[in-house]
Every structure is written in C-alpha cells, then in structure tokens.
C-alpha cells in the first residue's frame, strides 16, 4: 500500500432529479487498494461510479486524479482507467475477438490476436471465439467484457456489479482478477451485492446512503 492518493474525492454531492443521493463525500484511494462501495438499491452506488469515471457531472465537489480534476486530466485519466457498467458495451454483430480488438483500438491500444485469444480462453470462452456475440448468453457476454478489462492493463478499474450473471466459476475468476489487480499495484472501485472472498486484499468499505438493515430492501 502506498501513500500517494491517485484517486481522491472532495466534498462530492450527487442528485438524481430533486433528490440528493449523497453529499460531502470524501475519500481517497492509493495503489494496491480496493474500494468496495456498499449501499442498498437506489442509494447512488451507480451514480457515484459514473461520477468517478466522468460520465456524469457532480452537483458539487470534485473528483481528482493525481491531484488534478478529472476534467482537466481527462486524457491521462481515461488512459489509466477502465470502466464496466451495467451494460456490457459489446456489439452483438461482432465476435468476441472482434469486440475485444475494436474496443482496444478505440482506447488507443494495440491488441494482437494471440493476447486476445489468450484472455478469452482464460475466461472460459474458447468455444465461442468465432460466434457473433448475439448468440452468447448474458453471462458469456459479461465474460467477454471482463476479458476486455483484463487486456486493458488499466491502473484503475471501476466496476459496477461485475458479478451479475456470472456462475460460481465466473465469480471465482473475477475474484482472481481482482486479487491480481490489487496485489499488482492497481486500484479497484467496485459495487456488488454478492459476497466476495478477497483474502489478503486491502479492502476499504464505503457506505453510500444509510446502513442497510437486514429486514430492509
């Protein structure tokens, strides 16, 4: 764990329509840390992640990357960050391989076929390499997205419910990916409603909204 706060949030506030979801939020994240965003449905977890990656604008406050507002450091920030949202961001008409290579090219990276194949095989998609993504199941598409994340080599991962639709093996795979990322000096900000076993990973919990009672939600 290092002291350099790569990602820091200052007095962040977010509103959806008339309702304030959270305000005066402060935290910072250094290398080798995983920030687990907790909170019930509709408490603003997704909104927070979208603010963090710059897809949405905060009501007040600022998100900073290495001390600079992410708007000002946009190019550098986007180069070191990878985001997975609720939707997978893969095209139905393209094969997993084409999807990976195109998204890499759009992010300004060059991804050769061997590396792409390797990551797809690692995520258990060896039988789907040549199929259009349209015929894949939801979980398999999620795996394609995760393969993209793996090849992106980003310092910071922002993951919104990455476990949705994955089977037990898939969840174990993601746990492995997260562990590799964090122990390798990367950072992760993620939300999930599923239990994760991340032994030995520096996990920082962050509660959004009131604490969830067992009988609620």
């Amino acid at each position: 764990m290092s002291d350099t706060p790569y990602l820091s949030v200052h007095e962040l506030a977010c509103a959806r329509g008339e309702r304030t979801l959270f305000s005066a939020m402060n935290f910072q994240l250094g290398t080798g840390q995983l920030l687990l965003v907790l909170g019930g449905n509709g408490r603003g977890k997704t909104s927070l992640l979208r603010l963090l990656c710059g897809l949405a604008q905060p009501l007040a406050g600022e998100v900073r990357w290495r001390g600079q507002a992410i708007g000002a450091a946009r190019e550098e920030y986007h180069r070191s960050m990878a985001y997975i949202g609720h939707v997978n961001g893969i095209k139905d008409d393209l094969t997993p391989m084409e999807n990976l290579r195109l998204s890499a090219a759009l992010a300004g990276r060059n991804l050769d076929e061997a590396t792409a194949t390797q990551s797809l095989i690692k995520l258990g998609l060896e039988r789907c390499l040549d199929l259009p993504a349209r015929v894949l199941s939801f979980g398999q598409r999620r795996r394609v997205t995760l393969a993209g994340l793996m090849t992106a080599g980003a310092l910071l991962w922002i993951l919104d419910e990455p476990l949705t639709g994955l089977d037990i093996h898939g969840v174990a795979l993601v746990e492995g990916l997260l562990r590799d990322q964090v122990t390798g000096g990367g950072m992760v900000v993620m939300t999930t409603h599923q239990p994760l076993s991340l032994d030995g990973v520096a996990t920082v919990p962050l509660q959004v909204g009131p604490l969830l009672q067992p009988d609620e939600d």
Partner: protein, 222 residues
C-alpha cells in the same frame, strides 16, 4: 487522433456490413419516394423535369433521416457509446467519425442511385452530373447535422419524431442550394453560385456540428 477517427469509421462500416438489412432499407426508401412522384403527378415530361431537383433532394433528406435515429441509439443501448466516450481521445472526433461513417454508408449510395432516378425524370446528362455533384457536396451536411439531432434526442421516448422536427428545418439551406443548383443547370443558368453556397454551408457545418454533437452526447448519456 487520426487513428481513432479511422477506427470509429471502420467500426461502423464493419457493423453496417454485418447488418445489410438496415442499410438497404434507407436506399430502397429513397428509390420508392422518388418513384412515387411520376405516378402521382402524371407522365408529362416537362412537368417531371421541373419537379425532379426538388423531389430528389427532399427524398434524400427523408432517407437520411430514416437512418439517423439509429446513429447513436444502438451504441447507447449496448453500452459501447459509454466506452467510446471514455476513450482518451476527444469526443468531438467520435461525433465526427460517426457522421462521416454515416455519410459513407448512407450518403454515397444515394449519390450512386441518383443518376438512374434522374433518367426516370428525363433529366439531360449534364444536369444529372450537377445533381450528383450537388448530392456529393450536400449529403455530408445531412449526416453532420443529423448527428447533432441524433445526439440530442438520444434516449428520449419518441426520439425519432422529435429528431425529424428538430433537424428538417436545419436542412433547409442544403435543400435550397442543392435543389437550386440542379434547377439552374436545368434552366440554362450556371449552377456554380448555388454549388459554391452549398459548399460554404458544408464547410461551416463541418466546423461546428461535431462540437455540438459531442456536447449533446455528453449531456444525453448522463
């Protein structure tokens, strides 16, 4: 930067090649609309020649509108638009690339079909040349301005109709100069003045529209 622009264009061309149905709909629509006019107006050659420029241009506007509602909508739905906006490259290049790809996919074919339809209206060869030239200069305007409309109406219910109402008025200069060029060629006056104005309008759109579309995209995905 150029690499990003070319990748955006290549991506859209690849996707269009995988979905020929979407692509053909727009071209057939153009042919259909233009072909309805001789049936409706009657076969007098003089009359058909006179209405041809306007009819072809209006049909081109409508055909491009038909495909524009899908310009960003599918990428928005499957999340790839988000990912492209998170690329280190500026969003204005994304907007420009998408508009140029739209022009290559939907604009160029119109240009190639137009001479055949021109013959149907009995236009002389040199006037058909002017018609093609006016479409060559004018169709990028349709894609660029359409990109602004598509970005603004992204994710709205009934976005398609709104897009039409929003964008058709902006197409008016292109329509006037484009159809005007063919008209003046037909009546023996030179088409140069109209073509120059159309080209000026195109340059203006090229400079402004991608920025507006990029800003609209950022607002729409929030």
């Amino acid at each position: 930067m150029l690499h990003f622009l070319l990748t955006v264009i290549r991506r859209d061309l690849l996707l269009a090649a995988r979905r020929k149905g979407d692509w053909l709909t727009s071209q057939f629509f153009f042919v259909m609309v233009v072909s309805m006019f001789p049936l409706g107006i009657g076969p007098e050659p003089e009359m058909l020649r006179r209405v041809a420029p306007g009819v072809m241009w209006v049909a081109a506007l409508l055909a491009s509108l038909l495909s524009l509602s899908r310009l960003f909508a599918e990428d928005y739905r499957d999340g790839s638009l988000e990912q492209m906006l998170l690329s280190p490259e500026p969003p204005v290049l994304l907007a420009l690339g998408k508009a140029l790809a739209h022009w290559l996919i939907y604009g160029i074919p119109l240009l190639l079909i137009a001479p055949v339809l021109g013959l149907q209206f009995g236009l002389p060869a040199d006037v058909i040349g002017v018609l093609m030239l006016s479409l060559l200069i004018g169709t990028p305007v349709l894609s660029l301005l359409g990109g602004v409309g598509a970005a603004l109406t992204l994710g709205l219910r009934g976005g398609g109709v709104l897009l039409t109402l929003l964008i058709l008025p902006l197409y008016v200069p292109a329509l006037i100069f484009g159809a005007g060029a063919v008209d003046s060629a037909l009546s023996g006056l030179g088409p140069e003045a109209n073509l120059s104005l159309l080209a000026a309008f195109e340059v203006l759109t090229l400079m402004v529209a991608p920025w507006v579309a990029a800003a609209a995209l950022k607002i729409s995905i929030e």
